[in-house]
Structure formats: C-alpha cells, structure tokens
C-alpha cells in the first residue's frame, strides 16, 4: 500500500501521454470538429439563401405571367379593332364600286336608248311618208315636204 519509487515513473509516463495527446491528438480532432461545424453552418446558410432566391424567382415568374397576360389581351384587342377597320373599309369600297358600275351601266343604257330612238324616228318618218303616199295616191316629194316631215318626226 505504501508508495515506492514507482510513482516517479508513473508520473513521467502520465506526463508523456498528456504531452503526446496535447501535441499530436487534440489539435487534429479539434480541427476536424471545427471544420465540420463550419461546413454545417455554411450549408445551412446556403440553404437559406437558396430558399430566398427561390421565393424571388417565384415572384418574378408570377410578375412575368401577369405581364404576358396583359400583353396578350392588348394584342387581341388590337386585332379586333384592325378586323373591324378592314371590314368597314371593304364595305365602303364595295359600295363605291357598286355605284360606279351602276353609273357606267346607266350611261350605256342612256346611249342605247338614244340610238334606238334615232333609228325609230328614221323608220317612223319613212313609214309615215309611205302611208301618206298610199293615202294620197301619189308620190310625195320628200324634198318638198321635208319641213313637214321633220315636224312630224319631232312630235313622235
């Protein structure tokens, strides 16, 4: 039970182990622990950042969709307007064309009526002369009764 000189060796051995652990063990294990702690902290911070970025991106996407919708509505509106304009213009053009065609036709008709009338007039005059000759029984001198005939033609 009473200690002997062994205690000196035991003390030195203990001290040696302490020194070894302090010099070659502790710093390595502490470095590993601290590095891991730092990595975990960094990872958590990165996750937080990513979450915030995702939120930002979501907001931006919603914004873009809203803008696109407004733009599409605007485009549709414009298209409607344009279509209306085109229809209106076509209507007006058609009306104008119709009026023009009608006018041309009228002129043509008028011309043909005049010509027909002239032709009829000539024929009426000759018929009248022939009729009158038959009634009178003699040749009417066309030249002598020219004034009379012209008056007749004008009356028909």
């Amino acid at each position: 039970m009473i200690p002997n000189i062994t205690f000196v060796i035991q003390g030195l051995a203990f001290f040696a182990v302490v020194w070894l652990v302090m010099k070659f063990g502790w710093p390595h294990i502490m470095a590993a622990i601290e590095e891991r702690q730092q990595k975990i902290a960094e990872g958590l911070a990165a996750a937080d950042r990513a979450k915030a970025e995702l939120k930002d991106a979501d907001a931006r996407v919603a914004d873009e969709i809203k803008k696109a919708r407004a733009q599409a509505a605007e485009i549709v509106d414009k298209a409607h307007q344009q279509a209306n304009q085109i229809v209106d213009k076509a209507k007006a053009d058609a009306l104008l064309e119709a009026a023009r065609v009608k006018a041309t036709a009228q002129t043509e008709i008028d011309g043909m009526v005049g010509k027909a009338r002239e032709a009829l007039r000539g024929q009426v005059a000759s018929l009248a002369v022939q009729g009158a000759s038959k009634i009178i029984g003699k040749e009417i001198n066309a030249d002598a009764h020219k004034a009379l005939l012209d008056q007749l033609v004008a009356e028909i």
Partner: protein, 270 residues
C-alpha cells in the same frame, strides 16, 4: 483465506520485495499497455480524423472530446492549449486503468501464476504509486499554471498575503507566516486528496471483489454450502460489478474535474 487475500494484495516487485527503492512491475506493465492503447486509439483516430462521414470510433472520441471541452470551457475562462487535452487524458487513462477492475479478480493473476509470476495486481489505480504520480503531475502543473498566468510577483506575493489581507506593513509581516502556512497546507492537501480518493475507491473495490471470490474458496462439490455460497457469490459479484461500472466512471470523472478546477483556480487571482 488470509493468505489468499494477502497474496492478491501483493505487487510483483523488482528488485526487492519491500522498501521504497523498488518497482511495482505489474503496475508499470499494465500502465504502459493501457497508455499505449490510449495513445494509439486517440492519436491514431485524431490523425485520420475525417471532416465528412466520420467513423464510429471517431464519433465516439469526438463525443468525449466535445463533452470534456465543454466542461473545461465552463470552468476555465482563459485560453489554454494544455488544460483540455490534459482533462481528456486523465479521464481516458483513469477510466482504462479502473476498467481492469471489471475483469474477474482471479483471471490474470492465475494466468500469471501459470506463467511463473509469483504475484500480480492488475489495476494500476489500486496502487498508490500510480495515483500519487498522477496527482503530483497535476500539482506541478498547477504551480506552473499559477506562475504563468499571474506572473512571479503576484504568484509569490499571494503566498504571504492571502487569504488574510492586511493593511500596513506591520500587520502584513505579522500575518505572513499564517498565510504561508495555510497556503502550504492548501497546496499539499490537493495531491494527497486527489491520489487517496482514487486509490481508496479502487483499492476498496478490488478488496470487495476478493472477498466475494473468497466465498467459494477451497469449496468442494460434495458440500451443500458450496451451492448456496456459489449462488450468493454470483449475485454479489454481479451486483458489485454493475455498481462498480458507476464507480470507475465517476472516479475518473472526479479526478478529471478536480484537476480542471484546481488549474482554473491557479490561473485566477484571489
């Protein structure tokens, strides 16, 4: 029976059986084996420590390291490269030394006897030489810490000016011997209490194991009492071993914690 107990409490000594100038070979052998094991485990794992995906052994060692480091940071508020590794070493070594007490009390001595060793005591901390050696190491470190953190002037000044503070030169000189005496007692008590506490616990624990083993000493199968005592020995051995798991851990922890507290106190001014 007495012979059995005395035989179990005798160290394997060289070069003589008694006296101060002799070595406890068994204590030294198991100390070196366990110290080497501790160094191998701790330093080996530390050098191969991985930041990502640590192994089971590394995780266990890190758990102990973080636990001890937390205790040290709570107690000692300065910065020191020594104090936390010292605490881990004390805890690990004392626990390993104590743990040999868990082995059946006759196992290694019987093996030693078969190998020609007359005596063998396997628990290094049940030898006062071991605990005293460690406690004196801590004592020297306490003095070194005090000198380093306070400076020689405050360190030696406190020896004669605390705990009784005096005003005026005459009173100071008058109180100096009392202060110095108290300081010497305070410092001397620490290694003594540290070493005796651990040694006492482990020695008593070993003695109880020996006494439990004595229950069936020289028993024969023809006696009825053998079966009764055998059963009693099993129950007692089981209970004491289970309780001793607590004791060896607690004693290792106490030795560590008190060393940390003493070192912290040495670094602080009174």
């Amino acid at each position: 029976m007495t012979e059995y107990i005395v035989h179990h409490l005798h160290h394997l000594r060289w070069p003589r059986e008694d006296g101060f100038w002799t070595l406890n070979i068994d204590t030294l052998f198991f100390t070196f084996v366990l110290s080497a094991l501790f160094c191998l485990l701790f330093i080996g794992t530390a050098r191969r420590a991985k930041v990502e995906n640590p192994g089971k052994l590394q995780s266990f060692i890190e758990m102990v390291v973080v636990f001890v480091d937390g205790l040290v940071k709570e107690t000692f508020h300065g910065t020191s490269k020594l104090i936390a590794p010292l605490a881990v070493t004390i805890f690990g070594l004392v626990f390993l030394f104590n743990f040999l007490d868990m082995l059946p009390v006759d196992m290694l001595p019987a093996a030693g006897h078969a190998a020609g060793l007359k005596y063998l005591r396997i628990v290094p901390t049940a030898d006062l030489s071991t605990t005293l050696g460690m406690a004196l190491c801590v004592f020297l470190l306490i003095q070194y810490f005090g000198l380093k953190h306070k400076g020689p002037k405050v360190f030696f000044g406190e020896m004669v000016s605390a705990p009784f503070h005096a005003h005026g030169l005459g009173a100071k000189i008058a109180l100096a011997p009392a202060n110095l005496l108290l300081r010497l007692i305070e410092e001397a008590v620490r290694p003594v209490s540290l070493s005796l506490r651990l040694f006492g616990n482990m020695y008593a624990g070993e003695l109880i194991f020996i006494l439990i083993a004595v229950m069936t000493l020289d028993a024969t199968l023809s006696h009825f009492s053998t079966y009764l005592l055998g059963f009693g020995q099993f129950i007692a051995g089981f209970l004491w071993t289970a309780f001793h798991i607590l004791v060896i851990t607690l004693q290792a922890f106490i030795f560590m914690m008190l060393s940390v507290v003493y070192l912290s106190m040495a670094a602080e001014r009174h």
